[in-house]
Amino acid sequence: MAGSETPLLNELEKGPWPSFVTEIKKMADKKPAARDLLGQLELSYKEKRGHWKHGGIVGVTGYGGGVIGRYSDSPDKFPGVAEFHTMRINQPSGWFYSTKALREICDIWEKYGSGLTNFHGSTGDIILLGAPTAHLQPAFDELSEHGYDLGGSGSDLRTPSCCAGPARCENACIDTLDICYAITMEFQDELHRPMWPYKFKIKVAGCANDCVAAIPRADFAIVGTWRDTLRIDQDGVREYAERGFDIQGQVVERCPTKALSYDPAAKQLSVRAEDCVRCVHCINKMPKAIRPGVERGATLLIGGKATILQTAFLSWVIVPFMKMEPPYTEVKELLRKIWEWWDEHGKMRERVGELIYRLGMRNFLRAVDLPAVPQMVFEPRANPYIFWWPEEIIRK
């Protein structure tokens, strides 16, 4: 069918990068939803505006989130997408899959949905795009039977995500896959039943490279690090040197704290441990020669978010170092304390970072029982507007 009716979209089938239009067309002969999605999208391309109605609350029994309601504003023209709801399916840690699992998901979505997906959504879920209201419950039932569950949406814990971690990365200082899974399982109720002021995202990165953008994007970032000294293998250093790699220029001179020094005659690299801030630049450049230390754990940061409403925040350090060992009781308890305080004080649609900004870090730290330490700030305050607790005032 599709082709002659979508002259604008057809332009997006040209060129070397794989085309989402081709993907939609693949399903268009089998699925009226995909065919009408193409039609409606062509109209959007013509008119330069979206054609989805505002919101829409749909769901499956027992859940408050996980399904995004979507209705066409032109159901007469495009009946196939009159109801075109999205199901968010909680991805396995690190986005690893067996083909058996992927095929199961495809078969279920062939039966109940448009046959279109996103691998993955921005937060990390498997996105099953487009199903009518009546198909949501049976689709969920069958997904559940096969061991899959919904992700988060609305004012709840959003689906936690993590990097490849120890499964396929030598930089992983923590078991990101296991931490992500353990937190997801511990907080199923928070994930599935929106009850908070707004969304709360958790991301787990194995090292400071932060391949899951935890610091920019997560309300709560868990970033792997180490406390002792990075490990240098001088045989590895020699190998890089003999290969002609510019150790002085690319590594030593780019170390942000000038913690490294290189002796080109001996082909030896050394580090002043007290100056190293563990940024992993040298490890990125010389993975065969430099490795993280062995006393490993995570730095915990809070408050990251994108622009809406009061400007974007990068997450702020609240715990410089925490050991991360199963069952991760300490971090789970900290999360509970954070949520309790945010839930009590947060306004509607106020992210936890915005609340901390409004009420002050000192109130937050006291509520969650964390000590103030210099690692929390780039520099101390420059103004004298200091708040004092009642017990700090001398009363005669």
């Binding site: 979507r70 120890p166 994007r217 993975p287 994108a306």
Partner: protein, 352 residues
């Protein structure tokens, strides 16, 4: 009745034997060529990864084709990256070339490693979002076609991350990208006074405005907008469907540069405004594509080896960046929102 709250499948079911055997034991990795990684374990085991670009929006038929390849070459396992790339995990290096050949036949490019452009993080746009100021998949496709060569090679000074969000809600990590594109509005919401009282909770709508531009209109049991205060964030529309903000002629794309996510060398940082607005010009957004191409080229020509976009600008200064990029600096580049002051220059030290 289906079971609820079972959570995702345990990750161990999804890991190939070589990964289970070497979990946490990886020693180092090398990039053998664009799109091909080799991870070596302390046990001596070697794992090869072939990374392929994806449009993210995938038909189940395509996923099945991908599964066929993973069955044929990877013992039935694969993974996806945080930027939607597909990673095939191989134990036999002899399978790398045949797999890449098969991927080519399916139209999947192999690359996105090292000093390259990898897949663009992006949002739903007109395909599935109800608040977009622009499309997502279409611009991404047009940009990736133009920058394709930078995906399949490794010739940039450092990695370059491009992202796109179709509105200010920014479902993608656009605010910390080397080049971030954001769909923006430029006109105030159109208030449907008949429907506001029926569909919206007035106090919530008023409270939703970050610049206090909305006040009640008691006569009509509706609201009014102070046009001078509105900065077109669309948050009120999210709260109230009777205040649509989309405007086909005035919506468009703003481009930010110099952000980064990683802590390597320097702290993560926000992208900063380079181009305030370019029109929505579907199907291929030529103005946006050419602007991005130019921004990539000026970086590729001028940055030093290993320098990310923002690190390059830190070295040369924003005043030099605008000159080199041939982008006019306007009053729109000077922040006038709530955290503006620290961006004003408070020193006589600057370049010409």
């Amino acid at each position: 009745m289906a079971k609820t709250d079972i959570g995702p499948p345990h990750y161990s079911q999804m890991l190939p034997p070589i990964i289970k055997e070497n979990y946490g034991k990886w020693k180092y990795h090398e990039i053998l060529r664009p799109g091909v990684l080799k991870h070596v374990s302390e046990t001596g085991a070697e794992l090869y990864t072939v990374r392929a670009g994806s449009p993210r929006l995938l038909a189940i038929d395509t996923i099945r084709e991908i599964c066929n390849l993973a069955d044929k070459y990877c013992d039935g396992y694969l993974r996806f990256t945080s930027r939607y790339n597909i990673e095939f995990l191989l134990t036999n290096p002899a399978n790398i070339d045949p797999l890449i050949e098969d991927l080519k036949k399916l139209g999947f490019p192999v690359g996105g490693t090292g000093p390259a452009i990898t897949n663009m993080v992006h949002t739903q746009g007109w395909v599935h979002c109800h608040t977009p100021a622009t499309d997502a998949s279409g611009i991404v496709k047009a940009i990736m076609d133009e920058l394709y060569d930078y995906f399949v090679s490794m010739k940039l000074p450092a990695k370059l991350r491009i992202s796109l969000a179709c509105c200010l809600n920014m479902c993608g990590a656009v605010h910390c990208s080397d080049i971030g594109l954001v769909g923006i509005h430029r006109t105030i919401p159109k208030i449907d006074h008949e429907w506001v009282p029926k569909q919206c909770e007035i106090p919530t709508v008023i409270a939703s405005c970050p610049t206090f531009a909305i006040r009640p209109d008691p006569k009509r049991k509706s609201v009014q907008i102070n046009e001078e205060k509105c900065m077109y964030c669309g948050n009120c529309y999210t709260m109230c469907p009777a205040m649509p903000i989309a405007d086909p002629d005035n919506d468009g794309v703003a481009i930010f540069v110099g952000g980064k996510v990683s802590n390597a060398r320097t702290a993560p940082k926000f992208s900063r405004l380079a181009i305030p607005w370019l029109p929505n010009n579907p199907p291929r957004w030529p103005e946006v594509v050419q602007a991005v191409k130019k921004l990539v080229d000026v970086y590729a020509r001028n940055a030093r080896e290993g320098e990310r976009y923002g690190e390059w600008i830190d070295r040369i200064g924003w005043e030099t960046f605008f000159k080199l990029a041939e982008i006019p600096f306007t009053e729109k580049h000077i922040d006038d929102f709530i955290f503006s002051v620290p961006t004003f220059r408070t020193t006589t030290n600057f370049r010409w």
